[in-house]
């Protein structure tokens, strides 16, 4: 499909099934992406400058936020575009081969697994859910609705001012504990409902405000592999958010994403 450019490295974005590509081959060839076909698998790649993409220069670039931003956005945009049209196995950021032969060898080595993966991923999307909470709002909700706290409040009202002061410390500790419990309950209930509607799910790292830049604290981050035809992720999330928004929870869903978290090649044979 394309000619190898001798001095360049090969940056592979992702793999798509040959059977899905046929109507678009001509159109894709007009652009700078190149396609390498190996049986049922087509690697979508770009030739890159070895001076910019050597191991050494990449290690230097990674400490440059602007370079990471540009690279990540480019990588994602290509995969997102492919995902709109094809079943895509996304490859990790900066997956680069020395030459055409090494790319071909990789495709040979993992051929069966990749073809099986196409079959498993066909018609699926990845969706992300991040849950944030407004602590003051959640605290008010817990104080007004939690039985343990309501009982303690009642108990406290009948005490002398001195004993009330001591009891207040205990009350604050109980409030913190019940806030934690409420967060866990809401996140688990949400996760269970979304998991039951999904094909696969993964719980991810929760990011602090030093990363999110959002006033509210993140308390949950997870991704779900959804069947495009039978599931409506956003409708489910809307329903769940309606149940919990009054108690201070903020649901942020995004998608459909390429299946970044659900494409795995297990049998690495070196």
């Amino acid at each position: 499909m394309t000619h190898y450019e001798g001095d360049s490295l090969i940056y592979v974005y992702g793999l798509i099934p040959a059977s899905e590509l046929i109507p678009s081959v001509d159109r894709m060839d007009e652009h700078i992406f190149h396609l390498h076909k190996h049986g049922e698998i087509i690697a979508v790649f770009e030739y890159v400058d070895p001076l910019v993409f050597s191991q050494q220069t990449i290690e230097q670039h990674v400490s440059d936020p602007n370079w990471v931003k540009d690279r990540a956005v480019s990588h994602h945009n290509v995969l997102a575009m492919l995902h709109q049209q094809f079943t895509v196995i996304p490859l990790k950021l900066c997956t680069i081969f020395a030459d055409y032969k090494s790319l071909e060898e990789m495709l040979c080595r993992h051929y069966d697994e990749m073809v099986a993966l196409f079959s498993n991923l066909r018609g699926t999307d990845e969706w992300n859910l991040k849950i944030y909470y407004d602590k003051e709002k959640l605290k008010q909700h817990v104080m007004l609705n939690n039985n343990s706290i309501l009982e303690l409040t009642e108990e406290m009202n009948g005490l002398s001012p001195g004993k009330q002061f001591l009891m207040k410390k205990k009350m604050n500790a109980v409030i913190e504990l019940e806030i934690e419990n409420e967060m866990k309950r809401v996140c688990m209930e949400t996760h269970e409902q979304l998991s039951s509607a999904s094909l696969k799910e993964t719980v991810k790292k929760v990011w602090g405000r030093n990363v999110t830049g959002i006033k509210e604290e993140m308390t949950w981050n997870s991704v779900y592999l959804m069947d495009r035809k039978s599931s409506d992720f956003l409708r489910l999330v809307k329903q769940l958010e309606n149940d919990f928004i009054e108690s201070g929870f903020i649901f942020k869903a995004s998608g459909p994403w390429p299946v970044y978290h659900f494409a795995h090649i297990h049998s690495e044979k070196t």
Binding site: V73, H76, M81, Q84, K92, I96, G208
Partner: protein, 62 residues
Amino acid sequence: MKDWYANQEITLLDILDGLIDTGVVLKGELIISIANIDLVYIDLRLLITAVESIADRSDLRM
């Protein structure tokens, strides 16, 4: 209720949260790999920058 579903702004954080440590990792013939990127060390002003969505990009190279 706010409508964050339609025309959602994707930030760099959304993209890196999806991309880092994900995707198929290949070994062997591969000559180059990228080290893990810790989001904490990336400038927050960049992370929260809205990134043009795929639908809005007119310079897609394909």
